[in-house]
């Protein structure tokens, strides 16, 4: 019986719809009555201490993207707090369960940190302010309508009295929460919307910030793990005689039938001992899988009869048959690894009465849901304490396999805290990889060069099929069509094409896929935006004008495109040898566009001279952090374009570390001019969207520079010299 079924039987089930990459992922967290505790809080979001320190509770997690500061700004804004007194804390998922999920969703993915919770956290701040005002009014015996607030002080002007929040916080916490709470118009913001420094920078400058991997407990042991290199493989046998005699080694064990673990006093001793354990693997059915066999599997899907439909309009077949000019191309996107700087790790302590986990996770509720069945204890006896993340990028939301393993090991050593750290090699070879897909695009142009038909046939891996098959919709994975859907606030296809078909032949190789910063938008934007460029050239038209003609009904898409065109000087001369490429896309609720300026030397060396990027995310909570996310998106997206590929041989991932899986470094990083252009009226994400336009803008610029149309990633595999 699954944990969900168990809980359901007890009548505690609550389906927690957790949005990831525009998808609704259900996992099950029960709700139960429990004591609220004696925290001197005003409400779930706000604690004001007697010394006026304001503690803002943050349900989402900080992993570098600035959400911690942004969410605190939103609450502090409505609270009229003194920003210099603001600190933050994370509630635990156990507390969330006990309080009927009062903090909502902990999932921090899909660029939802701000946009997915702005409404209720702002109301939480506004409600706390009203309660503080009421408490002061009660004390002064004046109508609450006569008191005002500013920077953490309540004032009754008529009598000249004032009180700091800390003086009335205890009384405010005892009042009933107001039912009708109004929140401010963003134009009146003084804390939100401002480029305030992050709250968490200082501890990152002197080594004092504690990440999950740094966590220590008295008596803690350390564990290293080696898991089957071939998906589906098992441990056939192992010889630990030598390892067991090594200094510091406490235990060698097999967990889940597919991994060998060494527990020792220090991690380095555990890892060194694990290296001398002779493991024989039962490789199972996937031992002959290779990059070539996966490519063959996907290629077959490009023309397969059965396919799931994502977006359909008109009659694409007839349009293509009657085209004046037909354009056709096949693109591919490989497996890629998240490469978080901090490898996966967790610490757990198990006793028959309690299982505690300390870990870096993008979704502490999902970590808890993973820990519970591994612990064999009821959920009330388990909890997860969130530690700082050394990067997430979707890896720490896709799977909490490392949490499960840690709990299984800790359970074998009751009472002893055990920290399991994945070596970088274990980490790289056991990722939740960016799914690999291919796409065949067929475009129909009329005699004036207008696009009258487009068929995008995607063939490849579904993330849901690999991670949560129960979430598929009649076999279909809606996430496959990210950015290509006809409509919706999450991501809308931005071109008017009378006959359109976007469909997906699902082909699932055995390597586990995951949500990888940007997710399916990453390859879908390359497919569409590079092919639009191909059609523009086939029609003999300027790629910008060609796009504009099809975007009249998509004013927000068009506005960001126009911004980058204007800011980059599109159409005006560039420096000698420098060429431009352009792209636009919508995803995670935001509209993004970019222009890249590149040159390619006679020897084929690519230099990206300049990136101009625009993002319309509706509202900007912290402009300098939005700019940081846009810049970082280019580092992430261009790393993927230049270097990102996991290759498969004999059923194994071939790359194991940063020396074989290269990523962008300082010397590769182009200057990025970022233009946040919030148009208001909606809330879009910023952690991922700009990634979507990074690769296509550069690829289109490379074509402009060389006449070479590169339809595969990464560029390190190709000769970029002029065609």
């Amino acid at each position: 019986m699954t944990i969900a079924q168990k809980l359901s039987r007890r009548g505690f089930l609550a389906g927690a719809a957790v949005a990831t990459g525009g998808l609704s992922i259900g996992f099950h967290i029960p709700t139960a009555e429990a004591a609220v505790g004696d925290t001197p809080e005003i409400n779930a979001w706000v604690v004001v201490k007697p010394d006026d320190t304001v503690v803002i509770r943050v349900a989402r997690v900080e992993m570098g993207q600035g959400t911690l500061t942004g969410l605190a700004q939103l609450v502090a804004e409505e609270l009229d707090a003194d920003w210099s007194k603001v600190t933050t804390e994370y509630p635990t998922p156990g507390q969330n369960v006990a309080r009927k999920r009062i903090w909502g969703d902990f999932q921090t993915a899909g660029s939802r940190g701000i946009r997915g919770s702005e409404d209720y956290v702002r109301k939480g701040g506004a409600a706390a302010r009203l309660m503080l005002m009421q408490a002061a009014a009660n004390q002064w015996k004046v109508p609450v309508g006569e008191v005002t607030t500013s920077k953490g002080v309540i004032t009754h002007k008529a009598s000249g009295r004032s009180l700091r929040y800390g003086k009335v916080a205890l009384a405010a916490g005892k009042l009933e929460a107001p039912k009708d709470v109004k929140i401010k118009d963003p134009k009146d913001w003084t804390i939100a919307g401002k480029p305030l420094p992050r709250l968490d920078t200082k501890a990152k400058l002197d080594g004092s910030q504690i990440y999950s991997i740094d966590f220590k407990m008295p008596g803690m042991l350390n564990a290293a793990i080696k898991e089957t290199p071939v998906p589906g493989g098992k441990v056939k046998s192992f010889d630990a005689a030598k390892a067991e005699k090594m200094r510091g080694v406490k235990k060698v064990l097999v967990i889940d039938g597919n991994a060998v673990v060494v527990v020792a006093d220090t991690w380095y001793r555990a890892k060194t001992a694990l290296d001398v354990v002779n493991i024989v693997w039962d490789e199972g059915a996937n031992a002959s899988v290779s990059t070539a066999s996966i490519k063959a599997m996907l290629t077959e899907g490009l023309d397969a009869k059965q396919a799931f439909v994502g977006n359909k309009k008109g009659d694409v077949e007839t349009a293509i048959a009657g085209a004046t000019k037909k354009v056709e191309a096949v693109y591919r996107y490989p497996y890629q690894h998240h490469m978080t700087m901090e490898p996966m790790n967790a610490t757990a302590q198990w006793t028959p009465d309690k299982c505690m986990v300390w870990t870096s996770t993008q979704n502490a509720e999902a970590a808890l849901a993973t820990a519970v069945p591994a612990s064999g204890l009821p959920i009330e006896k388990c909890d997860v304490i969130r530690m700082n993340l050394g990067g997430g990028f979707g890896r720490r939301s896709s799977s909490h396999d490392y949490v499960r393993q840690t709990v299984l090991v800790a359970k074998e050593m009751p009472g002893t805290p055990v920290k399991l750290i994945w070596s970088r090699e274990q980490d790289v070879t056991h990722g939740t990889y960016h799914p690999t897909t291919m796409c065949k695009l067929t475009g129909a142009l009329d005699d004036k060069g207008n696009v009258v038909g487009l068929h995008m046939r995607i063939s490849g891996q579904s993330i849901l099929a690999g991670l949560r098959p129960e979430a598929l919709v009649e076999g279909r994975d809606p996430g496959t069509f990210q950015g290509l859907n006809a409509q919706g606030p999450e991501g809308q296809f931005g071109y008017e094409i009378p006959n359109l078909l976007v469909d997906h032949a699902m082909r699932n190789p055995p390597f586990r896929p995951g949500f990888w910063r940007g997710v399916n938008n990453n390859q879908n934007s390359i497919y569409l935006e590079c092919f639009i460029d191909e059609m523009a050239h086939a029609a003999g038209q300027d790629p910008l004008e060609f796009r504009r003609k099809m975007m009249k009904n998509y004013p927000k898409h068009l506005a960001v495109l126009n911004t980058v065109a204007e800011k980059s000087g599109w159409g005006k001369p560039t420096a000698p040898g420098v060429f431009r490429g352009i792209s636009q896309h919508m995803g995670y609720g935001s509209y993004v566009a970019a222009v890249a300026e590149v040159s390619v030397s006679d020897k084929g060396a690519l230099k990206i001279h300049r990136i101009v990027a625009a993002t319309d995310c509706g509202h900007v909570v912290n402009p300098q952090q939005v700019a940081a996310q846009i810049e970082g998106s280019f580092a992430y997206g261009l790393s993927a374009l230049l270097y990102g590929e996991m290759t498969v041989k004999n059923g194994r991932m071939e790359q194991e570390n940063f020396d074989t899986y290269e990523v962008m470094k300082m010397a590769d990083m182009p200057p990025v001019e970022s233009y946040p252009v919030p148009s208001g009226g909606f809330w879009g994400g910023v952690g991922e969207p700009t990634i979507f336009v990074a690769a296509p803008a550069v690829l289109n610029a490379i074509f402009a520079a060389t006449g070479k149309r590169l339809r595969d990633v990464p560029l390190k595999n190709f000769d970029l010299r002029k065609a």
């Binding site: 080594g207 220090t266 990067g391 810049e631 962008m664």
Partner: protein, 162 residues
């Protein structure tokens, strides 16, 4: 047994001689600001100073060090987070997740000693540490700001002496 001079203090450490300096620092001395990222000297998260030279501590065994070599970790870079690089990092909000930043800061601090007014090419060459959040442009700006501030401080000192 190893004797290491770390942040100005001599530590006697009872470890196997092939233990990498990184793991001696993290697990024996207990200073966790120096990070494990790759173990193969490819990412730079473990960068410390050895007699002022930026060194990837994950790939050098403790047996290769003597107590005469001054090893400085991020915790020992300054007493109150006031190294010009740390101040510039704070001013520009350089870190995102922050995991690589101990190494970045140590590499940048050494760069400033070698090239007090670094060019972009020198920054590219010396700053080869990996950051997956993509803070490179802010790191570059931070190095330049620190160089400018350090130069300003120097001329101020001169002025005061004069």
């Amino acid at each position: 047994m190893a004797r290491l001079n770390i942040n100005g203090k001599i530590h006697n450490i009872d470890v196997e001689p092939d233990t990498p300096l990184l793991w001696a620092i993290r697990e024996q001395i207990g200073l966790t600001g120096t990070k494990y990222g790759c173990g193969v000297a490819a990412c730079g998260a473990c960068t410390v100073h050895v007699d002022g030279v930026p060194t990837r501590s994950c790939s050098l065994p403790v047996s290769s060090f003597t107590e005469k070599q001054k090893i400085v970790t991020i915790e020992g870079l300054s007493k109150t987070v006031t190294h010009p690089i740390q101040k510039a990092w704070l001013e520009l909000d350089v870190p995102q997740c922050g995991y690589c930043q101990s190494g970045q800061i140590m590499a940048a601090a050494a760069l400033l000693v070698k090239h007090p007014e670094p060019t972009d090419a020198q920054i590219n060459e010396e700053m080869s540490n990996i950051c997956r959040c993509g803070t490179y442009n802010r790191i570059r700006a931070g190095v330049k700001l620190a160089a400018k501030n350090a130069k300003g401080a120097k001329s101020n000192n001169k002025a005061q002496r004069a």
